[in-house]
Symmetry: C2
Subunit: 220 residues, 2 copies
Amino acid sequence: MPFTTSEENYIKSIYHLQQASGMVNTNTLAAEMQTRAASVTDMLKKLKAKKLLQYERYRGFRLSEAGKKAALDVVRKHRLWEYFLAEHLKFDWDKVHPIAEELEHISSDELVQRLDNFLGNPSFDPHGDPIPDRNGKIPVINQLSLTDIPLKKPVRVSSVSNQSAQMLEMLKHYHIALGTQITVLNHFSFDGSLEIKVLKHSPCIISEPVAKNVFVHYVQ
Amino acid sequence: MPFTTSEENYIKSIYHLQQASGMVNTNTLAAEMQTRAASVTDMLKKLKAKKLLQYERYRGFRLSEAGKKAALDVVRKHRLWEYFLAEHLKFDWDKVHPIAEELEHISSDELVQRLDNFLGNPSFDPHGDPIPDRNGKIPVINQLSLTDIPLKKPVRVSSVSNQSAQMLEMLKHYHIALGTQITVLNHFSFDGSLEIKVLKHSPCIISEPVAKNVFVHYVQ
DNA sequence: AATAAAATTTAGACAAAACTAAAAATATTA
DNA sequence: TAATATTTTTAGTTTTGTCTAAATTTTATT
Ligand SMILES: [Mn+2]
Ligand SMILES: [Mn+2]
Ligand SMILES: [Mn+2]
Ligand SMILES: [Mn+2]
C-alpha cells in the first residue's frame, strides 16, 4: 500500500481531528487542510475505496484500523524529521514543521528505521509531542495545562498544543521552551490570565489563551 | 522559480546527458528517464516556456544558463543527501541513490545550507562524484580510468561512473570501494581485462567494462 | 533522387488532485 | 411542521504529467 502525498496528508489530518472529536465532518477537515469541501468529498471516496476510513455520505467519517496505522506512520516520520531538524541541524522549533511536512512523505521504511536509530530513538519531538514507535505505539506522560496548576508549585513545560508560528514566536518572546521551569504566582479571575515566573527571568503575565496551550508536568 | 518534482528530474537528467554529449535528443532522454518520447516532447515545451532550455523541434536541446543552475542545485541536494545517508545513517553506497532521488526535491534552501554545514561541507558524495557548492561550483580532481593506468603503479579509487545497483554490487564483491588502493598487474589484450591486486586481497581479474568505469588517482 | 527507416512531434485520451457552481440532504428555528 | 439555513455532495472544469497511435520531419540507403 503505497499512498500518495495527498492521501497521506488527508489521513494525518483526519487522525488529528478525530483524536479530539471522534467523528470528523467534511467542513472541519476542509478548514484544517485549507481546501474546499468538494475536494474533501472527492478524496473521501478514494480513501473509502482503499478501506482507510468508515464513511457514509452526509454522516461524517473516521479512520479504519488500517487508516489509523497509516496515519501513525506519517506522524512518526513527521516527528522524527522534526527532531532531526531541531536537534542536529539546529533549526528553531518554530521553523521545523513546514519542512517536516515534506520530509514525512519520503517512502523508504529502512530510512525511517535508520533515522530513528541515528537519533537515539527519541520519544518526543521538539514540540513535546510523542513519537509513535514502529508499531504505532505512542508514549504517554501525565501532563496538565498551565491553567490547572496550583500556585507556587514549580513545573516544567512538556508540550504545547497550539503550534502555529504565531504561538511559538510568542513563547520564544516569553523565554518559554520545552523543559523550561515555570512557577505560577497568580491567577487573575477577571480574564483568566496568569502571572508566572519563568526560571532566570522576571515575572510576567500571560493570557489565558496562551496558558491553556502550554502543557506541563510537576518537577520531580 | 519553484520547480515541480517532474521538472527537476528532467533538468537533472538533461544536465547529466549533455555533460557527455553537448546536445541532447528526445529518445536518449526518454530512455534515461524510463518514459516515452512523447512525454519528453511535452515536458520540453514546458521547460522551454520557462526558459530553462534552448530547444528547436526535431533539432535537439540543451540547458540554458538558468537551466544549468537549476540542475546543479538538484545535483547538489542529491549528493548531499547521499552523503548523509551513507555517512550518518550507515547505508551501503549501492542503496542511497533511490532515496536521494526523493530527498533532492525537498524545497527549503535553508535546509540545504544547514545540511551542508552539518555534514562538514563535503566535496564528494559516496560514489566519488563532486558536490557542487551553493553557487554551482564543482570541485575537480585529476582522475583516470583504471584502463589507462600503467602496471605496478599503486592508485586509489576516487569514483565510479556507472552506478547501477548491479555494478556497485559487483565492486563490493571485488572489495573495491571509494579510497581502496589498487595495483594493476597485467593487461590482457585479448579481451581488455585486467589483473589487479586490491590491497589486502589476492589478485583477481576484472573485465574491461568494469575497469573502464572505475576512476582512480595516483597515491601521493 | 526516390524510398525506406528512424526520430520526433501532434492529437487525443486518461488519472490525480484541485476548483466553482448548483443540487441535494440534513439541521435549525420560527 | 414548514420554512430557512447549513452542510455535503454532484456535475462539470482545469492543470499536470503521463500514455498510445498516427502524422510529420529528418536521416540513411538503395
Ligand atoms: Mn505533508
Ligand atoms: Mn511537532
Ligand atoms: Mn528525483
Ligand atoms: Mn552519487
